[in-house]
Symmetry: C2
Subunit: 378 residues, 2 copies
């Protein structure tokens, strides 16, 4: 028997209860039944985003919601400051380029976190900027950005703060309203424990004035159409019936666990991964690591891609390698969503086995032992 485990930074493992919702007989999308599904989803997403604004459901992956953020707030020749903190930070810049913005690229070394001081300076240099696009938890590096402090800076300016919270929703407390962020986007296949295919977007009141006036071409991702239809709990186009019901179920499960407990669980899992990796002599990539995934530098002479393949093909445990210039150099352990403390032992065990196979010298068993202590010792 070989069981398959996913410790990936998305898609993540999905509870059987959620999978079975997808297997329910179809209902039509223009029915009171489906509107009730959307209403419940809307409630759950508002809690996750920490907002009293409506959060809209998009049939599309996280990138669709990121594009919606840019297309709805930017007009051609607007200045967009994009923090290139990793592969997904770079995606902001690519999107802003595609929409003919004057893109101000802020290149950050991968693994570093953008700071409020840097935001302050950039906005002084570019007071004309319409948007500042940042990443809360950068999936390619595992670094976390302090959005609360950055939002304090943008709130005092006319620049909208657009935040990719795809990997942080359901992992870290997100407080869109309290922080004063303007647009936030999320996805289904990370902390929300749902298969890929859905994404989410919400906008602040001041963002809405910009959205109404923006002149970039948009149709499927037009937030004005989403708002109009959402007022009666509908989607502008055929709704994602099966995935939406899966999401409703996942949100119910999350409410039952309690958001505070969920954030605490992720913090504990993250700490155990970080400490156990350090205990076997490995270094973490990010200075300020997120709680949804941990990026670890592969030991000298070991290709992280080989580690990933070996773990997946021989032990049935899938983690992720590095992206872009970090390919082969880091491995990324996802511990977000439907991951229990018990599951984490499986993951750390497989990492130890993979490293052992590839000839890395360390005290075999010590990472698992430390994980056991950190998670379960009384």
């Amino acid at each position: 028997m070989k069981k398959n485990y996913m410790f990936t930074p998305g898609p993540t493992m999905v509870p059987a209860e959620v999978l079975l919702e997808e297997a329910q007989p179809l209902i039509h999308h223009r029915t009171p039944q489906f509107s009730e599904v959307l209403r419940e989803i809307g409630e759950g997403l508002k809690e996750l985003f920490g907002t009293s604004e409506d959060v809209y459901l998009i049939t599309g992956s996280g990138t669709a919601a990121m594009e919606a953020a840019v297309a709805n707030t930017c007009s051609p020749n607007d200045t967009a400051i994009c923090v290139k903190s990793g592969k997904f930070g770079e995606r902001w810049a690519e999107l802003a380029e595609a929409y003919r913005c004057n893109v101000v690229n802020f290149d950050l070394e991968w693994g570093k976190s953008f700071t409020a001081d840097q935001a302050e300076k950039l906005l002084q240099q570019h007071p004309e900027a319409s948007v500042l696009c940042v990443t809360h938890s950068e999936t390619s590096t595992g670094a976390l950005t302090d959005i609360e402090r950055i939002a304090k800076v943008t709130s005092r300016t006319d620049t909208l703060l657009i935040v990719d919270t795809i990997t942080s929703i359901g992992v870290h407390a997100v407080e869109m309203d309290k922080w004063g962020a303007d647009v936030m986007v999320g996805g289904s296949q990370k902390g929300c424990m749902v298969p890929p295919g859905l994404s989410f977007i919400a906008a602040s009141q001041r963002a809405w004035s910009t959205i109404e006036a923006a002149t970039s071409p948009r149709y499927y991702l037009d937030m004005r159409a989403m708002r109009k239809k959402w007022s009666e709990f509908q989607t502008p186009y055929t709704g994602p019936v099966s995935l939406a019901r899966a999401l409703r179920k996942a949100l119910h499960m999350m409410r039952a666990e309690g958001l505070e407990n969920i954030y605490e669980r992720h913090a504990r899992l993250a700490e155990a991964v970080r400490e156990s990796m350090k205990a076997i002599g490995l270094e973490l990539l990010p200075e300020n690591p997120a709680n949804g995934l941990t990026s670890v530098l592969a030991p000298e002479g070991i290709d992280s891609g080989e580690l990933v393949s070996k773990m997946r093909d021989e032990y049935g445990v899938t983690i992720a390698g590095g992206q872009g210039h970090l390919k082969g150099k880091i491995f990324r352990i996802g511990h977000m969503g439907y991951i229990s403390k018990e599951d984490l032992l499986v993951c750390i065990s497989a990492v130890e086995r993979g490293l052992q196979d590839l000839g890395y010298a360390f005290e075999f068993g010590s990472a698992v032992s430390l994980t056991q202590k950190l998670l379960f010792e009384k």
Copy 2:
């Protein structure tokens, strides 16, 4: 016991075998396993589209694929001729407007089918047109357009023929290459028997020259990115793992039935619906009806919306009402996808019951009896 039946023009009923594929434990999207899923899907879709070109999978509803068609082939100020044959024909015009085209609207009375003669005249008047956007099977009216004859006209010009085949794929034979159509789009939730959330797009070689040169902003729907990734059976962004596996299963089932048999089944179902409705004194809306759905004029004094609600809420049988100015005036019976001849009796029976409840005078039982004869008499 009240069982639920959907005779809707999309989403349609999904076989349990397909639903259960959605309930399979997740796999990661950047794996050989998922690439194999995409490879098999690609093969199946090429058969359905009748093309040797690759057909790409989009995570998004049919409208996303329609937008991809416009955004990838049109540049601002290009002339786009849009045949407004119904709600979905109008969507072409809305999309072309959103992308700043010079839109030539060709208004067709709802229920009529666009003809090759009309195409000929339009292209003589507008030889500068970059694209002619048409609908193969118009979901709002049930009318079918002869794409083969229209493509004969566009093939002789520099105007690309863009066709919405969302409601015809898996219902009618579609021959993109043989006919000479340039861009075709489809969706998962119609003849393909899969829940909503996926759409498909393919382009001819001559369309690709336009796509490469087009200057409209696009990112998530950029076909150049799709082509690049599809060459290694990947998607540019996180792939729709669960829905894709459902689609693979549905395509396997379709291959087992045989495409010719599928088209023949739909033709038989459509004929039975049309004849049984006419037998109880009702008129069809379209002159040239499609085989995936039948639009029927509600009897004088009866609101079709009431019929739809009554059938759904009291008998568990969902059909669709009219859209736009036909709201209340027509009802639409969907008979595409996972609908057997046996199922059709359930549908016609419920229509009879609904009409009886609303006071329409007809010989009760005669529509069911005719259906029985047309489908099963030896």
